[in-house]
Amino acid sequence: MPEYETHDHDVLVIGAGGAGLRAAIEASAAGVTVGLVCKSLLGKAHTVMAEGGIAAALANVDDRDNWKVHFADTMRGGQYVNNWRMAELHAKEAPDRVRELEAWGAMFDRTKDGRILQRNFGGHRYPRLAHVGDRTGLEMIRTLQDHGIHQGIDVHMECTIIRLLKDGERVVGAFGYERERGRFKVFRARAVVLATGGVGRAFKITSNSWEYTGDGHTLAYDAGADLMDMEFVQFHPTGMVWPPSVSGILVTEGVRGEGGVLKNNQGRRFMFDDIPENYRSQTADDEEEGWRYTQGDKAARRPPELLTRDHVSRCIVREIKSGRGSPHGGVYLDISWIKARLPNAAEHIRKKLPSMYHQFKQLADIDITKEPMEVGPTTHYIMGGVRVDADTQMSTVPGLFAAGECAAGINGANRLGGNSLSDLLVFGKRAGEYAAQFAKTQVAGAIDARQIDEAAQRALEPFARGTRGEGPYQIQYALQDMMQDLVGIVRNASEMQRALHGLEELRARANRAGVGGHREYNPGWHAALDLPNLLTVSEAITRSALERRESRGGHFREDYPSRDPGFSSFNFIVRKNPEGGMDVAHAPIPDMPEELRHVIEEMG
């Protein structure tokens, strides 16, 4: 029998980013006891890194904005395979969620008349992103954290969940270990909310931290829940490419929102060369009009640099592959050119983009007020995740809820910048509310000691193999290299078939991984335990991507380069079959109500 500590909560929230914190606050407000678990310290979750802003149709800067425009923008960005109900709720509720942050102490940048300022971002028709310079995520997580700590939530920091516990069909708890001493913990709960974020660590070049190993995706999958849209991974167009040790670190879209332009090594603004048909009427005709748009001219249309991320990424890849890239294998992103237009350009840039200024100055010896940056695509976000009910965020397994990046639906094939932070708030709140409601109707479930034994035993295997086993980091690097090469921005069937074989080999290697030392704060051990999760999400991505024989949003197939209407009416889901293998199936998209269809037509 493994030793463990037991904790009881009505609702257990796994993950303390924006979604988890917001869920915990809401559940606690509903009068149930709440436990909140996170792998890092409180306030360090990925949300802290978000830069550009929170999308919400507050209409403070452009009064033509409203939920309908935001809804239509989100659906267009997602290429119409979004869960339209989620997109609708999101667009309608985001403004209230942002205002609520202010009531909890957030301090957004202001308009001249003292209201929340909003900025332009890719795919959003009007200036819509509430922001704080380029550190919006920090403002958001700190606000939720500082509010949340006074709500009587029990926080378990530096604790990693490795298995969900079930009683029959229902999820009734979770099992994990705390980092400091390596001791096991059992959490009993009447409802569990997953808010674990993304999967970026499955790829070599990524803007994501070590935490993003697809834990929530895998926990849900192993518990029998459906995952959906796993083929849709977002490659952000602008990550740092140099120096090598920082490659992948994000350069916010805010740079382009403030007037930054993309150029190839011939000095050409190549984004004007390829404007998709469905965005043509919304895109500037020339550089002059694009500049006016970034400066708030309501009559102007947006520059092509602010087209959706999937498109901009592919254009950059095309430039690089055609030999028009920058010396370190990227393209140029130039904001310094605005000095030709603005009197205090350098100061303006430092004020609007302080952390970008800092980041380049310190990590790359580049002064972005004087010279262009070198950028290239980086793995950034996964649209796919746990399949949930739009209103309640409950997964296909009773008692298991999911919100934030680890849930699927709102973004469809491609997420618009800024729509994640608002997603966390809107659906974090809903998940907390409905998890609490669910918890109140349930009696405590039975905890099955066998499930605990099994999980504990597996968790300790790497120690049994000790340093004779292969080092976990080497296996992780091999996986990242392979996924980057074979299932990255540009995909085809034969490479993905190779990836599936590769994954099998890597799984065998992962089963032989060993670590030395003991259980106290041992990152090698943690890395070994993350491997099965990385493998599961990589397989889900690859299998779904193989099935989608078309190109749409973040998913691009060079063997099927265009969009195929035959793939518009369903989403791909993966689930675990009784033999333990992974099945891919179709989930039909329900018909959109007349009213919403009308909104989309009306908005063009």
Binding site: L42, R142, D146, Y521, W525
Partner: protein, 247 residues
Amino acid sequence: MAEQKATFQIWRGDARSGRFREYTTEVSEGMVVLDAVHQIQARQANDLAVRWNCKAGKCGSCSAEVNGHPRLMCMTRLNQLDLSKPVTIEPMRAFPPIRDLVTDVSWNFRTKLGIRRFTPRPPEADGTWRMSQVDVERVQEFRKCIECFLCQDVCHVLREHHLFDQFVGPRHLVYAAALEMNPIDTENRSRDLKNTHGIGYCNITKCCTKVCPEGITITDNAIIPLKERVIDQLYDPVAKLFRMLRQ
């Protein structure tokens, strides 16, 4: 900096004991200290404990003392260090060690709970608040804090005198300043600042300001104005007059 090798002395140990261990690894252009630590962890010491998340100076997880200076490891370039000698990397010394470079910073989380929370005045008719950008900016400086706790690490009141029970430290004075100067907050924290937060212990050495990776002017912009508030509100008018004359 072409491909070369460098030597690092990394403190390894736990709450009971520890010592520096030497590792030599390849370093290349653009590397930061955290990269070197990761490389050593991946190739030579899988169990080397270190905290990090963002690798871009945004989360405040990777605080340590590099050649004796409190720094974020992810923002410290190797080319800023003298690599002809071994580079020492050790955990923040003001906090109890857990393992290797990881320290027990839980005191900070408990301390924050003791500071009275944000309490806004009622909103305007439309449910929102009007605030001017200038007022907001003053507070935003403090809200840039990434809770790296490097300022706590260097403050002698904590580091040398261990007055953890009596002094909340510069980080939490910055936090209190953000609340006190928030244009819509209505709470008054002066009495707490004096009595339980121990603002009087700060003797304005400015060591905290010097190490803040976010460039927050902790002493001049946060602590001194708070001290003035405390004096204004809690001491007699003579002291107030004296202060006015001095200015």
